[in-house]
């Protein structure tokens, strides 16, 4: 479980996160939702220590992350798999080298063991036999799947995803959502997905935090979301005509 308590973050005079507290639960797909600019990505980057913050506490299964020295933080980060918005694959490495990279850096596995692990991860994301392709030869959906394969190669305890569906067609987006949910349940890891895609929310939202103007305005799951009375949440969720119709029919 990842806990955040009373997080405050300012960029200059601009208060981006104001007293944010939330528990991201193990074995569940935890979603941070909100409009663009609401503070979602900032919160995610604070969680992994890429941004410093002004006040508050972050703990990974009871280990206080913000009190750790850089070397200790690096050890925690080895337990985190991160799926970036653009995939962030190393563009001079092949698919296989990308997935093998964390194994080479942090394990003493033999080359054979590493290749076995790479093939296992590629199979898990339905990309068998694509080992020798460069990222430039992959489609958007394939890039995301290779990035997921890389992020699970080290058996992470935590999986963080920043807008995993952005730029993908609806069918591939559903595939990625399903994959994230399956991996979360299969390995019993704490997954946090940062999204403003309502299809994802309805598909995989076990535990949802709605951020508005840097504050958590609502918490719940996908079933509760439909009937929530919060006006800001309502305006965000039912911005599209399709979801308005869904609500009317429900």
């Amino acid at each position: 479980m990842i806990e955040v308590k009373n997080i405050h973050k300012k960029f200059g005079d601009n208060l981006v996160l104001n007293d944010v507290s939330f528990n991201f639960q193990r074995g569940k797909t935890n979603l941070i939702i909100g409009e663009s600019g609401s503070g979602k990505t900032t919160l995610l980057k604070i969680l992994i220590g890429l941004y410093p913050f002004d006040k508050g506490v972050i703990s990974y299964d009871g280990r206080i992350f913000n009190e750790m020295k850089l070397k200790e933080k690096r050890l925690i980060r080895q337990e985190i798999g991160m799926l970036f918005q653009g995939g962030a694959l190393f563009d001079y490495m092949t698919v296989e080298e990308n997935i093998k990279f964390p194994l080479t850096m942090f394990t003493n596995q033999t080359e054979e063991e590493k290749i076995d692990r790479v093939n296992f991860c590629l199979k898990r994301v339905n990309l068998e036999n694509q080992n020798n392709l460069l990222p430039s030869a992959l489609s958007g959906g394939m890039v995301k799947r290779v990035a997921i394969a890389r992020s699970i190669s080290m058996n992470p305890r935590y999986l963080l995803c920043d807008e995993p569906n952005s730029g993908l067609d609806p069918k591939t987006a559903i595939l990625i959502d399903d994959l994230i949910k399956e991996i979360t349940e299969e390995y019993n890891i704490t997954t946090i997905v940062n999204t403003h895609d309502m299809n994802s929310v309805m598909q995989i939202g076990d535990n949802i935090a709605f951020i508005h103007n840097g504050e958590i305005w609502w918490e719940g799951n996908k079933e509760e979301l439909i009937h929530a009375e919060n006006k800001e949440l309502h305006d965000f969720v039912f911005a599209s005509k399709l979801f308005k119709r869904l609500k009317r029919n429900s």
Partner: protein, 250 residues
Amino acid sequence: MIKGLQNIGDYFIMMNKVMSRPEKRSVFLKQFNLEIMKIILSSIGIVIIISFFIGAVVAIQQYFNLSSPLFPDYTIGLVTRDAVILEFAPTMLGLILAGKVGSSITSEIGTMRVTEQIDALEIMGINSASFLILPKILVSVIFFPILIILSISIGIIGGWLGGLSVGVPTSQFILGIQYEFIPFYVTYSLIKSIVFAFIITSVSAYYGYHASGGAINVGKASTKAVVYSSIIILIFNYILTDLILSGISF
């Protein structure tokens, strides 16, 4: 002024991160070999072409400037040798490589920054500054002097052929390049090349590592890297010349 001081502070903070022990020796050696290809081997062509023609032009110019019975023909060889060893090879080539190698380092690291590849390294628990920048600095500092020796040799060959084209006999040219040769000039040239190599790679890496936004900003960072490394090279050229040459009596 404040911005400038902040940049200097950030540069030293980054260099503190760069100068740490590599996490995995085998991966470091792989990166080191890759950088030899990217930085040194890819520069050999331009070094040969520029050195040859500058050497030839220096010889021809000196021939016409010194066309007096008071100056024997071997003066052309002597002047070409000293011009190439003292100033052209280390400084001019330093400026040229600041353009070629510097802009390439900034674009490479800057692109990795804006596509979140550097964040991905950090999330894996890797010291991204050391992983990306240390091999570049070491390769440059170790191998730039070899490029300078190559440049001196080709420059003198260019001078010989340039001299031949205007009628300076080979025997006179060879006498000139041997006449009152001071071996310490080569040491002085190599000392300068090591300092310039460090300036080019570290300053360019700094601008790439701190790039933000998109492609336009990476382009701007590359331009800044070339401009500032060139200025710093010229300042250090003056300081080193004053320190090394003025303090020694021949």
